[in-house]
Symmetry: C2
Subunit: 429 residues, 2 copies
């Protein structure tokens, strides 16, 4: 479809800086074909009025577990072990076929509603998440969580299932769907298993999604077992020679940061989840200074408890100022770059994350009439510090309108709410 | 007016605990007259359907400067001195008569929209704020910010103006409007001036609103000048013998905390502002443990940049978990108590803050259909961790409906947006 977005204030990334420019934007098929002058040959089939609105590249959620929205607000104010072993895993054990699909659909609805157009997911059941992505219209990089030791049978089976799923789904949804492999964490995968997973990733030519250095217990366990930090351990496996997104990275030594920078590992920071599970505050300013590609994730709704990247962006741009007592730590512009450009780089999707000719049309239109956005003194600051996600009016992914004036298109939200409520009741969430 | 709210899940505070109970609530005039069985004699003039919704006591913003919404997103990512002296004060100097009214009205719109029904304000121009409170229908405790040294002329004039304003406006708006006096801070008021202000407060029988121990520069200055902490200095003036709300209290010694507890000083914590201005993180868990009445404020939009108490509540219940590495620090229930019951106690308004017969009808109705509130596993956790304020559908203050289904009643929001945009442009915000 050919869409014209008229006269919106467009967030343009140029020379490592963000500025708003009032502009017409033309979309043809899945691509942005002009920003500025409308090409003479362009005849729009649909027109969206952008006057008095901000047009931004859709936000990129670089770490989540979308199916876990089923567990939202069911495991709170608990110590980590009670949370994971007492609540989350027992509920996961009760999930039946089809449940992940509904949980993922709910997560996708929330992400679209709050301006997220692409996400990197780690999950436990195959196919259901891929189906949700294809049907909903969102863009995603999916990765089946893998747990294993050496060449144990269960680990090998999970990897085989993941590889099979990739062969069935990769590139589906008009190219919106791609994959990584996801060795879960150094405390659930041993180095031999990680090497086996790496081999598959190499053969498939895809990247790695993992959890690293999330909590103090993990650091202690890995030190006791291997005599080094989780980052150092994973470096030794050679995994960082593959394109890697490492979620969390809360507890890092200076040497760890150097290793991440040298190996061009992307770090997906999850400030809300890290606070809520009492893991702490990641050294994001230090990571940025070292040149690490930091991207932004919400983690799952069981530890957040939303998938709203606007909330995450405001947390990201606030917390490091306070904790480091530096009001210039992670500025609004840095935060927005982390939630867009850096996310695209982390996910290996060089066609998204900016409003630019030739890029995929993954866009969010933001209402400036919401009282919390008034007066419009500085829209960059407004995105980071004033917006809460409810100002997102219209969302386009791959050139398709997924939400218009807060109305989701082609997604039966009422059915999703009904199904998820039923699942939550059944599993005792 | 007699209003019946039918079958909402009502947040009830009992035995120092919160639970939801599905209930009918009857309002007659400004009061809640029943929670549960509808009195036989009650005939409703208006009925609100509460099915599938949460009814909560309106939130209480215990520290803000509502007029400063004019400066929203106009002074960000700056060091404190550049922020205050380089941006805020020069803009304040350009404010003209009437500007504070429009800024305050904008702030009030935002507060109503996000479920706040009462706030404690500190401002620089009299009458305009009072007029905004009366016209809008919100409840407020107002306090003119006072700056002075000894019995200097300017300080005396400000105090006289404040006292005059109180005589004109106290109790107006059907009792929604009350007052405190506000010696601004120990670094802008010397002990002699504070004593003069105290004397007036005693005569008027009202409380004190002030800033205390917000940043390290203040602490250093006070130590250098008086050889003690700001808390200790203010204790010596005798001010704590009056009912006092002390905003911020970020940097406190154990002795400071003891002084606050012994003197029953209420501490209004402003986590977002404290992070944004790089002042740090207040020791809220320690204050709570010491028995201090902690309440919650947004501070002004120049340092937040919203007046949304739901964002503040989520920050309050997240940050102390992460910073103290204790996932049980400031639980969802504690956070809600801080934003309601404790706020009422701090402001000396014992008729608000709870859903209870005989209390003022200050209420907010919350949509549970918003995807970020689904599934409804635990509504208490949902309020703290999932809500962003946009789920607030209907707001009642003093028995009057101020917002119904997201539509503000009797407030011309478009005019307010227009006027504030003009002011912001004029002053170079």
């Amino acid at each position: 479809m050919r869409i014209l977005i008229e006269k919106a204030d467009c967030l343009i990334y140029e020379d490592n800086d963000f500025n708003f420019k009032n502009s017409d934007v033309c979309i043809d098929g899945d691509l942005i074909v002009s920003v500025g002058k409308i090409p003479e040959s362009f005849s729009a089939e649909g027109v969206i009025d952008g006057r008095g609105k901000l047009l931004i590249p859709g936000l990129i959620n670089a770490h989540t577990h979308a199916y876990m929205t089923i567990f939202r607000n069911s495991a709170d104010d608990l110590m980590f072990n009670d949370w994971l072993f007492g609540r989350i895993l027992p509920m996961e054990d009760k999930l039946e076929d089809g449940d992940s699909y509904w949980g993922t659909m709910l997560g996708i609805c929330e992400m679209i509603r709050t301006g997220t157009t692409c996400y990197l997911d780690m999950y436990i059941k195959g196919d259901e998440n891929a189906r949700a992505v294809c049907e909903s219209g969102i863009r995603a990089v999916l990765s089946r969580g893998l747990v294993g030791k050496g060449n144990d049978k269960d680990g090998a089976m999970r990897l085989r299932e993941a590889v099979d799923e990739i062969s069935r789904w990769n590139g589906k949804g008009n190219g919106r769907l791609s994959f990584m492999l996801a060795p879960h964490a150094p405390y659930t995968c041993d180095p031999d298993y990680i090497k086996i997973v790496m081999q598959s990733a190499k053969e498939l030519g895809i990247g790695i999604n993992t959890h690293l250095s999330e909590g103090r217990v993990e650091i202690k366990e890995i030190y006791e077992k291997y005599g080094c930090s989780p980052i150092k351990l994973i470096e030794k496996t050679g995994m960082f020679s593959l394109k890697t997104v490492a979620a969390h990275c809360v507890h890092l030594s200076d040497e760890d940061i150097e290793i991440l920078a040298e190996n061009k590992v992307s770090v997906a920071t999850n400030p809300v989840s890290n606070l809520k599970l009492a893991n702490g505050v990641a050294p994001v300013p230090k990571l940025l200074k070292a040149g690490v590609n930091v991207c932004l994730g919400t983690d799952g709704a069981a530890s957040n408890n939303t998938l709203n990247l606007f909330r995450e962006l405001s947390m990201l741009t606030l917390i490091h100022k306070g904790v480091n007592e530096d009001s210039q730590a992670v500025s609004a512009k840095e935060g927005i770059k982390i939630a867009t450009v850096n996310g695209a780089a982390a996910l290996g999707l060089d066609g998204i994350g900016q409003i630019k000719v030739g890029m995929k049309a993954d866009l969010a239109l933001i209402d400036l009439n919401a009282v919390n956005m008034v007066p419009n003194n500085n829209p960059v600051a407004a995105l980071a510090y004033s917006a809460n996600g409810s100002e997102v009016q219209t969302v386009i992914v791959n050139g398709e309108i997924l939400m218009e004036n807060r109305e989701l298109k082609g997604i039966d939200e009422e059915r999703i709410r009904y199904e998820v409520a039923g699942i939550a009741k059944r599993i005792g969430a």
